[in-house]
Symmetry: D2
Subunit: 149 residues, 4 copies
């Protein structure tokens, strides 16, 4: 279990997520926020699809990127903000179902860099199947406020 | 220079792109379609941003994924469709400017897999700076129509 | 738990590993071979190091690549061989200790592609710490013998 | 063209490479060292192969990792050393020929992180074919000497 530096980590993550206009555009919502772990849910909509009618792989990447980034952000100091350095995502199955659930979990928090893993699941009723796995590197930007630059 | 198997590759790619609802949602448009190379442009909008006011890294990934995928698709046979196996993207600079331009280029077309590189640039007036680079693996799905499943 | 297509999977993997001259050069040994899971151990030696005296990141990648590749191979049909399409590895800590242990586990076996995760640990006496995590894509080469071409 | 901070960058890179015992084990040699660009050559030997008789993908990764890492190191300050954060490599063709040549080139040098691309070619007489492409993230470790820790 990870110990957060900032006792207000949850309010901070929720406030930051609320300012990600792109998450609002696709209809993503932040559910769980725990030390080193975040969950984002995305109700599947027709306007999120690619040519085969599944959710676009880039949209799957968006929620994985945000779930991973905010998982990392929960463990960062109060005066820092978070930046995605890079991510790599494998698609395991078509992104299908009523709901996509992205779970980000910190593998290694660091002073300068944090390494995170995210998984995305497709949920249809009782059935839940893994549709993507991601490995991500985040940068801790010390002294940079989490707001519009 | 690559030689396409399908003489109608351009019409096929444009028709497929037009059916990607997610590209329409974010306002992306397909400009160049050449053998082994595609360009997608995305006018920057407030509803595409993350908490610092730059375009969300996942949105950058979306246009890179589509530019790369369609670059690969130009070289595939007429009875095949394209699937993203995985991609890895490095963010080089904040995605800023009036317009983002994603350029996908095939490194190695194959019977079963194609390896592609994409770069994303931020354009502001005359200034053009590289904001992301991606490496991507695509699968050629022989005998699978490029339509809703 | 995965079910292997080939009941002789273990003998097949051990025979293939024994023919990887590069594994012999660095002194790696294959320990566990289970359906969808392989473990490779590497005693740390001075001639495997980089300039800071830790095991070279590329050597860490070598054992992760082989552990992942053979994990995937355990689930492939008897007439197929395995090929690494790509891998992505994050270094979490300096590769240190008496022994490195690479554990490969299949996330999604497929007819054409398999997606695998590998982790590498550094072991020093009772202490075991994670030094690297990898995500890998393998190709199933049907009808290609696992021998010198 | 990149401008190095450290006028002695070439001597520094060559000295560091000479202390990478793992490069000596596989017989790799550092040829070109320019600002933001390094080339490593590896004569193909039987003891570097995998089960099909080609050079092991992990060995290809080793020379790509070192070529990329040292390309980045050429642009770092004299009081810093270099660390590989992560890399992702796609295999494009079997690593074959008399000689492998890995070329690392900096895409974006930074104060804390540098992003690098590497390509590996197989050379057989006059023929030169691309066998792998890599994207890599390096960390600049300020105030850490490039020597045994």
């Amino acid at each position: 279990m990870h110990t957060p530096h900032n006792p207000d980590f949850e309010a901070r993550v929720r406030s930051s997520f609320a300012r990600q206009a792109a998450m609002s555009l696709i209809g993503a919502r932040l559910t769980t926020v725990e030390p080193g772990r975040c969950v984002i849910e995305l109700p599947v909509r027709d306007d999120l699809t690619q040519q085969h009618g599944f959710v676009h792989g880039g949209v799957v990447g968006m929620i994985a990127d945000s779930a991973g980034g905010y998982a990392g952000f929960t463990l960062m100091p109060a005066d820092a903000s978070v930046l995605t350095v890079e991510y790599k995502i494998n698609m395991l199955a078509p992104a299908d179902g009523d709901l996509l659930v992205a779970v980000g979990e910190v593998l290694k928090p660091g002073r300068t860099l944090s390494i995170v893993r995210a998984e995305v699941f497709g949920v249809q009723g009782d059935r839940r199947s893994r549709v993507a796995v991601m490995q991500q590197t985040l940068m801790v930007m010390h002294g940079v406020a989490d707001e519009k630059i």
